[in-house]
């Protein structure tokens, strides 16, 4: 058991930390980036590419670093720490993850190099109006065209990064009933393909997403990731688990920065003639924030360790536990930070609110605390009953 970073890992951490700290030093720059057509700074994205960060999880064959969950954790931590809005999660972790796990050799060769270079962005379209947090709740349909291809129909909501992604990975039902675990396929669809209509919008946390409809969209055989008879849901679940580990790291970065900001504020803000940090009640609240942060950080390590677990049931159980801890800590740290800041925390001119809003959305992403607590309980928890 060893918590130290290797030299390579330390180098990745230093470079991403440095790059994002500079890019996000000023909230005005961030506001300007949000006004770019893609909803984020294309210049920043190029820097991600130049530093090799977009290639972290991909095989060296495709130009990637062949690295793993630890390196992803380092990048996501930096993203969280800076409340950055680049679509790393949607393109590299979610889209890239499905390609890695389930893509054909040809699909990988065609798409991954562009992802790594920063010229091609991906998005995962899985969520539907009624699906809430159930990954198997899929009513969009993929009808076989008899020639290895499919015809796609349906609607996907809140597709992260979906408004400007070059390629969408769409989850659709080939067989069975809504909420069946079997019969779920995965398909590559061009963002501007015929029959695709995208309605993009900003998200509460400053990112971008889209509601997307698919009307008789033709999918060639070469664009099928998981077709009839393959277990598309298993791949999707694996990628969502990896995304949970990544989100955990992002949340930890955001909480750490928010906690630092709060402690600094308490030490400098004066009321009644003294720094408000001299009040024991506020000190103890920031200690409770610290404890929540450190408990989350510990679960972040656990997530990183379990993201590569081959036993899917064990991995899912672990990730449910991770999401519960992250969600609870994120809510507590976010709300307490705003409370301790008072009015200034309520404004967009100060960074605390940015972290708080992002943490709120992370708590809900892929399932809220309640959802995963139930999932964990259904799976029997982490500790077996005594014999």
């Amino acid at each position: 058991m060893d918590f130290d970073l290797s030299d390579d890992q330390r180098q990745i951490k230093d470079s991403v930390d440095r790059m994002l700290a500079a890019a996000y030093a000023d909230l005005k720059t961030k506001a300007a980036a949000q006004k770019e057509p893609a909803g984020f700074s294309v210049g920043n994205w190029k820097q991600f590419a130049d530093l090799g960060l977009l290639g972290i999880p991909f095989a060296e064959d495709h130009g990637g670093l062949g690295a793993g969950p630890v390196e992803t954790m380092l990048v996501m931590d930096a993203i969280g720490r800076n409340a950055a809005i680049e679509p790393y999660l949607s393109t590299v972790v979610l889209g890239g993850g499905l390609l890695r796990h389930a893509g054909t050799a040809a699909q990988k060769a065609a798409l991954i190099p562009g992802v790594i270079e920063g010229t091609h962005r991906l998005a995962l379209a899985h969520q539907e109006r009624q699906s809430r947090f159930d990954l198997a709740d899929v009513s969009a349909t993929a009808r076989s065209d008899g020639a290895g291809g499919y015809i796609l129909n349906g609607e996907k909501l809140v597709v992260l990064g979906g408004d400007s992604a070059d390629t969408l990975i769409v989850v659709a039902r080939i067989d069975g009933q809504r909420r069946d675990r079997a019969g779920i396929g995965l398909f590559l669809v061009g963002g501007t393909a015929a029959g695709v209509t995208r309605k993009g919008y900003a998200t509460q946390d400053g990112g971008r997403a889209a509601d997307i409809t698919f009307a008789n969209v033709k999918i060639g055989a070469e664009d099928v990731i998981a077709g009839k008879g393959s277990d598309g849901l298993a791949s999707l679940e694996h990628v969502i688990d990896e995304a949970i580990a990544a989100l955990a790291a992002e949340a930890i970065g955001a909480m750490a920065a928010l906690h630092d900001l709060t402690v600094d504020y308490l030490k400098t803000r004066k009321q009644f003639g003294v720094a408000i940090g001299s009040f024991q009640v506020l000190q103890h609240k920031s200690v409770d924030m610290f404890t929540a942060l450190e408990q989350a950080r510990s679960m972040g390590y656990y997530a990183t360790m379990m993201a590569a677990e081959p036993n899917a049931a064990e991995r899912r159980r672990a990730m449910a536990a991770v999401k519960v801890q992250i969600g609870k800590s994120a809510k507590f740290v976010g709300e307490t930070a705003i409370q301790l800041h008072g009015g200034i925390g309520m404004t967009m001119e100060y960074k605390a609110g940015h972290y708080f809003k992002r943490l709120t959305m992370i708590e809900m992403a892929f399932g809220n605390t309640e959802h995963f607590l139930r999932a964990l309980a259904h799976a029997g928890g982490l500790i077996p009953a005594a014999a």
Partner: protein, 395 residues
């Protein structure tokens, strides 16, 4: 001891409810119910409907348009107002500045200001908080220097709610620079059209524009705009802050929001059943309902006690109303956010229909963000605990 409402009180409730549901513009109530922001015109229309009925400032003395109601009637009125999604009559006018002018103002000031205040022909805002003086108002730095027969005001106020709509501002400013802390402060009425005033919006995390910074740059104000004695503005401020607790628990509002949560959660599916049919969610809602019922009884107890109190000072037990009331309000926004779930992620301020159509989920996150303020403003919940510790428990 008889803990039931009297038949007269029940009849009064029915009268209030009928008025609220028939005389207050429906579109304003609907917007309030679903959490859409209100325009100036909306607020004016609703306020004027109440003013026409004689209910814009029920707690004012009858001579100035008040109603002479019992404490229980005030409670019922506020509860029905909130339960029926009627916006509160503008508090800067009727709960803050009005009572101060009634208590401390000259006859001329009363004649000049109160009627327009009552009818919302003039909109008021509050110039108290400053960047360096939030919960601790004694630290404020804005100055009003007497010069050439007028006050010249310089300084900066912040968190000024709805200053963008305001015709007038009641300002706390330092008139004696040597005096310490609360001494040397005066309560002055400032015309917002005066040269030298700049209003800068503060964008808040809910995406709305509710608060502002207000800059005073050599703003000239006639001396007769002083309320009460010079350098004794702290008396006015203390009196005003004591009045703030009217309806502070917002029990009717929370009831209304719980009703709406139940309505929406019955429509949202979670797996194979509605979210409201989910035992765990239903129990979370029930837990908030229990707290709210207890708080309602606490409010009635405070009212009954207040009716017997001789003191002009706020009942320290009302700090409980503030603490629990804000916690419950926040809990309801959390439940609504949970109902909205992933559909709350889009930020759609311009295109939301905010009805019960497609975008019902759009206000969930903004309301959650916005309501973090209720445990901060009006004396944060930490300050309220200090008050109870000192005034009730004697620490």
């Amino acid at each position: 001891m008889d803990l039931r409402f009297t038949p007269e009180e029940n009849a009064f409730r029915a009268e209030v409810r009928t008025f609220m549901t028939t005389e207050v513009p429906l579109h304003v109530r609907k917007k309030t119910e679903v959490g859409e922001g209100l325009s100036k015109a909306d607020l004016v229309a609703s306020h004027k409907a109440l003013a026409k009925k004689g209910w814009a400032a029920p707690h004012w003395p009858k001579a100035y348009g008040g109603t002479g109601w019992t404490p229980i009637q005030h409670h019922i009125f506020t509860e029905e107002l909130q339960a029926n999604s009627v916006p509160q009559p503008l508090p800067f006018n009727v709960s803050m500045c009005g009572p101060v002018i009634i208590a401390f103002g000259t006859e001329e000031q009363k004649k000049r200001y109160l009627p327009k205040m009552y009818n919302l022909d003039e909109w008021w805002c509050q110039g108290f908080s400053e960047p360096g003086a939030g919960s601790d108002l004694a630290g404020l730095k804005t100055t009003a220097v007497k010069n050439d027969g007028q006050y010249v005001i310089n300084g900066q106020k912040t968190w000024t709610t709805l200053a963008q709509h305001a015709d007038w501002c009641f300002v706390l400013a330092r008139t004696d620079m040597e005096a310490k802390k609360q001494l040397g402060i005066s309560f002055i009425l400032v015309d917002m059209k005066s040269p030298g005033i700049t209003v800068r919006p503060i964008q808040t995390i809910d995406g709305g524009h509710e608060v502002n910074e207000v800059f005073f740059d050599d703003v000239k104000v006639p001396l007769e705009n002083l309320v009460g004695q010079e350098n004794r503005g702290w008396d006015c401020a203390k009196f005003l802050l004591g009045n703030e607790r009217v309806g502070i628990a917002r029990i009717g509002l929370s009831k209304q929001r719980i009703g709406r949560i139940k309505q929406l959660a019955a429509k949202v599916m979670s797996g194979d059943k509605s979210l409201m049919a989910d035992e765990r969610f239903a129990e979370k809602v029930a837990a908030v309902e229990v707290e709210l019922k207890a708080l309602e009884m606490t409010q009635l107890r405070v009212l009954a006690e207040d009716a017997k109190r001789k003191s002009n000072m706020p009942n320290p037990a009302s700090s409980i109303l503030k603490i629990k009331g804000s916690e419950i309000q926040q809990a309801t926004t959390e439940l609504l956010l949970e109902v909205a779930g992933p559909l709350s992620v889009p930020y759609l301020p311009d295109e939301a229909d905010f009805g019960d159509g497609d975008h019902w989920a759009a206000p969930a996150a903004p309301q959650y963000f916005n309501f973090r303020k209720v445990s901060i403003y009006g004396g944060s919940n930490e300050i309220q605990r200090n008050i109870i510790a000192k005034a009730v428990l004697g620490f």
